[in-house]
Point group: C2
Chain length 224, copies 2
DNA sequence: AATTTTTAGTGAACGGTGTTTACTTTTTGA
DNA sequence: TCAAAAAGTAAACACCGTTCACTAAAAATT
């Protein structure tokens, strides 16, 4: 019992083979998902794509939800990476903070199905599993992204650029909600910021910048 | 052909009977929908509730989507009514504008399934029917609600409370997106503004007020 | 090396969905 | 009264996620 961990090296050939197939399933799923979203991804069609029987998928994933959850987590990894890249630059704070939130929206725009699914699946899975010994929100990629945002706001307060009476955690949630709203709008209304397919409004890029600016303005203190 | 409209009074008994049944279907659907949302509402269970065969529904609605669309439109009617009630009060503008957007979020919170469905179904139906002679966005309840918001911002600009360089239409969309984000957060994360079922954050009501204040601040001009 | 045990993979089925088709019954209008 | 239109239905179609009983292959144990 003591030397149990010596039975295999860090991963046996069998384990490596297994996770290779898992990855192949995920990869095929990712392709379909990016094109057709969560509803368009069916276990049956997925199985057909990789020449397996539908039941075979269940040897690697306990449910479709679990499979999709992995795609979502990978997506949040992508967001986190990109946001961190902005945070770590040395551009002036006011510019950097605006870039940071705009980038968040930008990525959501590029993978709309991922973004929509990442937030619309929550209720079902969150309500039914309050498993107490879980990894926990703080360590999930989503949680990490939130912490980056909160840190940024704390920095702004220290610099005197943001109002001193702000609670960074509350302000971060508010700012996040604001960006989330724009992301969702773009995801669900393809022509946004145009309300109809036809004409006249500013470009999406400019709108994102405006919205980010607007949200950051709300946090700023006004000393002149 | 000229006196066609005299064939019946404004509505024949047959027509009244028909729309009564239609209303009965919608009413039963509304009940299920409020409890279980769009996915939980099935034509088959609905038919069972009102002692009809599933196929019978299709004599009144051409698809499930059309049925759900009517529920959504009614919901937007509710939002519009409530927002208008605030707009028409004579409280000071800065308070009134905050109340207005907070009310929007409040109603979304009270009927989460309606709100979520109203925005998550859009892409599919919007992309495939650019019927050019349509009723049009401007006259839909959603469109009217937007116009109210834009009008409010225009008023703020005239009063000198909001920045003069704002485009009311753009600012309205940004403000709307901001409120939409909070509404969606609350809808999909039941514990929001708490990120986890357990502890410590401000009350939801206070958070909504904070968020509304934050968004309006972004619009304000700073004269002192 | 032989044998047991575990794992990978499958076909068929269960219960569910939205929707269509062919059919019967009822209601309506001339 | 009688043809036409509308209301209503049972049965089927084509999907869906998931489970079950089963076989074939690989791994582990003796």
């Amino acid at each position: 019992m003591t030397a149990e961990y010596m039975t295999t090296s860090v991963s046996s050939p069998a384990e490596r083979r297994r996770s290779k197939i898992r990855a192949r399933i995920l990869s095929a799923a990712e392709t379909v998902f990016a094109r057709d979203g969560a509803e368009g991804l069916s276990i049956r069609r997925l199985a057909e794509n990789i020449d397996y029987s539908p039941a075979a998928i269940y040897k690697y994933f306990s449910s479709k939800d679990e499979l999709v959850d992995e795609l979502k987590e990978t997506f949040f990894e992508l967001i986190l990476e990109n946001v961190n890249r902005i945070v770590d630059t040395s551009t002036p704070f006011s510019e950097r903070s605006r870039d940071c939130v705009a980038t968040y929206v930008q990525i959501a725009t590029e993978k709309p199905h991922h973004y929509a699914a990442a937030f619309t699946g929550e209720a079902a899975s969150n309500g039914s599993k309050p498993v107490d010994g879980e990894p926990g929100f703080e360590m999930s990629k989503k949680g990490q992204a939130f912490n980056v945002l909160r840190g940024m706001i704390a920095e702004g307060i220290e610099l005197g650029q943001f109002r001193a009476d702000l609670d960074p955690a509350v302000a971060a949630k508010s700012l996040w909600a604001s960006m989330h709203g724009l992301a969702m709008m773009i995801v669900h209304i393809p022509s946004f910021p145009a309300l109809r397919p036809d004409q006249p409004t500013i470009s999406r890029e400019d709108f994102i910048a405006f919205h980010a600016d607007q949200a950051i303005r709300g946090l700023e203190s006004h000393h002149e």
